[in-house]
Every structure is written in structure tokens, then in C-alpha cells.
């Protein structure tokens, strides 16, 4: 190591002063809440009623209520929300966003021009426009009598479908594919751009087919990005709340995900003890996903990629 690496541009005292505001915010709004939510989850904390003034320790009863297997699969219970969430994540993240994003990135890999600009801009818009605005647009899009989706399907002779009542979970899956594909698209697009041109030239010389190119060049080289995308998209989809603005978790809790369930228990029923128990479970799942993501990242940097 060279000597100059030890020349410190910032003296420690100044550096810590620079770090102080960020550390204060992170400690208050990220680290402290994790510890506190654990404590609350073992109490009957509420803002109203007798528990509001003096919450008491209730042991694991909040958790055992959630996992009361006699009733937990009923509509509106935790098990129902958990199953919905698994379907929602599998459908919209793993089967929807990631493959679609990869397909778009590959299709436009070596193309420039209007069609690429159009598709990339529209997908990015879907990703960054405010959730409330796009939620109203989607309510209109999926409407049984006036919606665009049924209008288009009627061209193909498909009669009106009541998306909200008959397929609420599929509706929010479709919405979430629309909403989030841009991330995978941009990630894979950048990854494909990093493949050295000589690889393509070699493939051209030996006359490799499209499938061979995918199997032998694209897939091995973007595999790390593929895992990154799968984990991150799963993590975000698991926590996403925007679909609530379209179905409200309804009808009759049939499209309620865990994140909507948490909202209902904590902020509609104001049962913070039970809400905290769900939050602890959600954060544990987040923790597992984030740890997998970070260990993948670490292994990648080990290989210098």
C-alpha cells in the first residue's frame, strides 16, 4: 500500500461531524424501530381503551393468534394474507417482471431508435409515476363496463370480465408487472451492455444460433444480475403497498397481502401489539432476503465483478 493512502483529507472530528446528521436519522428511524417493534410485539399496546394508558406484557399471545391454525386460513386472517402474498410475489415478480424485463432488454440490446425510446420511456414512466395517480388509471383500465382492457378483449370476442370481483389477485399481479418491470429491464440492459463485443463477434464467426447465444453467452454472464434481480424484486414486491389503492385488499380480503394486513390491523383497528407481531414476521422475511442478497453481492465482489 502506498504511503499517500494514509493521508487523511478529513480529520476524524470533522468526519464525525459530517456523519452525525445521517447517523442520527438512521439510528432514530431505522435501527431503533427494529428493536422497539420486537418489544411492542409482546405487549397489547393500543392507542385507545385501557391498553392505551398502560400496555402490559402478553407473552407470545399476539403471535399465537396469528398462527392459530384452526382459523388462520379464513378470509381476513393472517394465513390467507400469507398465501395471497406468495401467489402475488411468484406471479408478479418471478414470473412477470424479471422474465419480461429480460425479454425487453435482450430484444433491444443492439437496437437504437424510436421503438426502443418508446418502450423504455413508457416502462420507466409506469415505474416512477406517483402510485395514487396510476392506481386511479388502473381502476379505470380494469373496470367491467367501461374499462379499456375489456374493450380490447371484446375485439377478440371475449365477453366482459369483472376483474375486481372475479380475479382481484390476478388484477393486482398484472398491475404490479406493469408497475415494476422497468427495474429488471434497466438492470439487464446495463448487464448486456457490459458483455465484451468480442463475444458477439466470435458468435457471429462460428454462426451460433439465437438459442446458443442465449445459453452460452447471455445466460452465464448475466446470471449474477439475474439472482440480484430475483432477490431484490421479491423483497420489494413482498413489501409493496400500492395495490391496496386499487382493490383495498378486497373484495372480502381476497386480494389482501401481508403488507395490507399489517396496515389494517395496526392503523385501522389500532391494535399495535398484534400489528407489531406481523411487522416482526415481515421484517424477519425481509432479513432473510436481504442476507441472501448481500452474500450474493459479496461473492460477486470476490470474483471482481
Amino acid at each position: 500500500m502506498k504511503r499517500r493512502d494514509y493521508v487523511s483529507i478529513l480529520p476524524r472530528s470533522v468526519a464525525f461531524a459530517f456523519l452525525a446528521p445521517a447517523v442520527l436519522f438512521l439510528a432514530t428511524f431505522l435501527i431503533f424501530p427494529v428493536i422497539w417493534v420486537l418489544v411492542i410485539s409482546f405487549t397489547n399496546t393500543a392507542l385507545t381503551g385501557p391498553a392505551g394508558t398502560s400496555p402490559s406484557f402478553v407473552g407470545v399471545s399476539n403471535f399465537s393468534q396469528l398462527f392459530n391454525f384452526a382459523r388462520w386460513m379464513r378470509l381476513g386472517e393472517f394465513g390467507n394474507a400469507l398465501v395471497n402474498t406468495v401467489i402475488f410475489v411468484l406471479g408478479s415478480a418471478l414470473l412477470g417482471q424479471v422474465p419480461l424485463g429480460l425479454a425487453i432488454a435482450m430484444l433491444f440490446h443492439k437496437r437504437r431508435g424510436l421503438s426502443r425510446e418508446l418502450v423504455f420511456s413508457l416502462a420507466t414512466m409506469a415505474w416512477i409515476l406517483p402510485g395514487v395517480a396510476v392506481a386511479f388509471a388502473w381502476i379505470a383500465f380494469l373496470d367491467k363496463d367501461f374499462g379499456n382492457l375489456n374493450a380490447i378483449l371484446s375485439v377478440f370476442g371475449i365477453s366482459k370480465i369483472d376483474w375486481y370481483f372475479d380475479f382481484p389477485l390476478y388484477s393486482i399481479i398484472l398491475f404490479n408487472v406493469w408497475r415494476g418491470t422497468a427495474f429488471s429491464m434497466l438492470l439487464f440492459s446495463a448487464a448486456l451492455g457490459n458483455i465484451p463485443p468480442s463475444f458477439w463477434e466470435t458468435a457471429d464467426v462460428i454462426g451460433a444460433s439465437a438459442w446458443q447465444r442465449f445459453r452460452d453467452i447471455i445466460f452465464p454472464l448475466i446470471r449474477p444480475n439475474l439472482f440480484t434481480a430475483l432477490i431484490l424484486v421479491t423483497l420489494w414486491t413482498f413489501n409493496v403497498f400500492t395495490p391496496y389503492l386499487i382493490t383495498g385488499g378486497g373484495p372480502l380480503y381476497r386480494s389482501e397481502t401481508v403488507s395490507m394486513y399489517t396496515y389494517r390491523i395496526a392503523f385501522k383497528f389500532l391494535e399495535f401489539g398484534r400489528g407489531a407481531a406481523v411487522a416482526v414476521i415481515m421484517m424477519s422475511i425481509n432479513f432473510i432476503l436481504a442476507t441472501i442478497y448481500l452474500s450474493l453481492q459479496r461473492r460477486r465482489s470476490l470474483y471482481g465483478r
Binding site: S8, L107, L129, A133, V134, W138, N148, M260, F267, F272
Partner: protein, 278 residues
Amino acid sequence: MDVKAIFYKIIFVIFVVLITSFFLLPILWLVAAPFSAQATLRVTIPSVVTVKNFCAIFRNTFAVRALFLNSILIAGGTMFGVTLFATLAAYAISRLNIRGRDIFAYLLVLFSSVVTGTAAMVPVFLLLYYLKLIDSYLGVIFVLIGGLLPTGIFLMRDFVESLPKSYEESALVSGAHPWQVFRDVAIPILRPGMMVLAVWAFVQAWGDFLIPLIVIRSPSKMPAPVAIYSFYTEGGTPVLTLISAYSLLYAIPVVILYLLVNWRYGFRFFGGIKGGGK
């Protein structure tokens, strides 16, 4: 062109049309309905283009205040805080020779991924309740800053790492104080990065719905995404003319900022960042 090439071309065109429709059709309503006198959920090209709906919104003081005061205060305050604190922190992390820098980065990603969404709002709401910050702009802004800072620090770190240290070192040699070096040498070079960070933080805070929904109680402080849910008749039916026009007005700043960033820097990936907000 041989037959195979034409075949591929057709397949390509079909795919592009399908993808474009998939991304375009759901938001067509947002650009058509606001200009129609009787907006329904149907998307039609209005036979008579009207700006009546927008006039109605501008006459509604509650709606104007939500969009042009409350939303701007919340997004602006968050933008200011995130940009300032993330730049300071990223600079310090990058320029401080300290063991455990990587651990710090590791923990930052971990905590920000774990404490997110509605799950995070359970303890955060109670925290704000005891800090007496419920129903205040500051409450919303603080929570947003806390949620956006980790990603912001990461984003800024990439920019700071690409800044050569020699400029700062020569300034130090000529006797400048580290703060002066930061202000007069580092900041001017980091400005493009800070711009991107500021736009990103603004868009995240502008679009956030969950935090103000939970934290803000009084109508006079509601930002646009919460205020829009008051455009319902007493019977509970949404007034679609107002909702569509208001949604469009609310979405336009994001479109403008996107175009600005795309034109100025090219919309691309800055270290694989998507804002999570909360």
C-alpha cells in the same frame, strides 16, 4: 431481404406493439379523462376538449393547498434533507481512513431493506406519537429522510469515489480548512451527482402515499395523494372529472423531472438503485 429476415422483422414488430400497448393503455385514461366534461372510467377522445375540470380544481382552495403547498413542502423538505445529509455522510465515509467502512455499508443495506413498508410504519408511528410529531409536516419529512438516506448515501458514494483526491489534497496543502475544501472544491465537482440525488429524493417523497396517510390527520396539511381521496360525493362515488384532472396535475412534475434528467444525464442506472421510500 430473405424470408427469414422478414419473418423476424414481423415477430419483432408484433412484440413491440404488444409491449407498447401493455405499458401505454393503462395510463391513457390519465391523459384523456381530465379533458372530458363528463369523465367516466371509459377512455374516449373527448369530442369537446374542456379545461373546465382544471378550473374547478383551481377554485377549490383545499385541493390547491394540498398540491401547491403541502406536497411541495413535504417533497422539498425531504429533498433538501436527503441531499445535504447523504452528501456529507458519503463524503465523510469516502474520505475517512477507517476500518469497518464496508461493515457500515453492509449494515446500511441490511437495515434499509428490513425496515420498510407498512411493517416499518408500526414502530415509526408510535415513535412519532411519543415525539409529538403526528399530524406535522416535520413528522412526514423526518420519516421520509430516514427511509431514503441509505439509498441516497450509496448513490452519492459512487460519485464521491470517482472524485480524484488530488484536488482536495492540493487545497489542504495551501492551508484550507477541511470544511472549505468540502465547500469550495468537492461540492462544485459533486454538483451533478447532488442534482440526480435531489431529483430522485423529490420524486420519491412526492409520490409517497403511505407515510402522509398515516401521519397527517388535519385536512389542511394533507398532501395531494391523500387529499385526492376527498373528491367523493356524499354518497361515496368518486367525482371522476376532478380526480382525473387532479391526478394529471399531480403526475406532471414527475414527468417533467424525468424528461429533464433523461435529457441532461440520460436516465440510467446509478449503482442499481430503485427508491423504496417506505
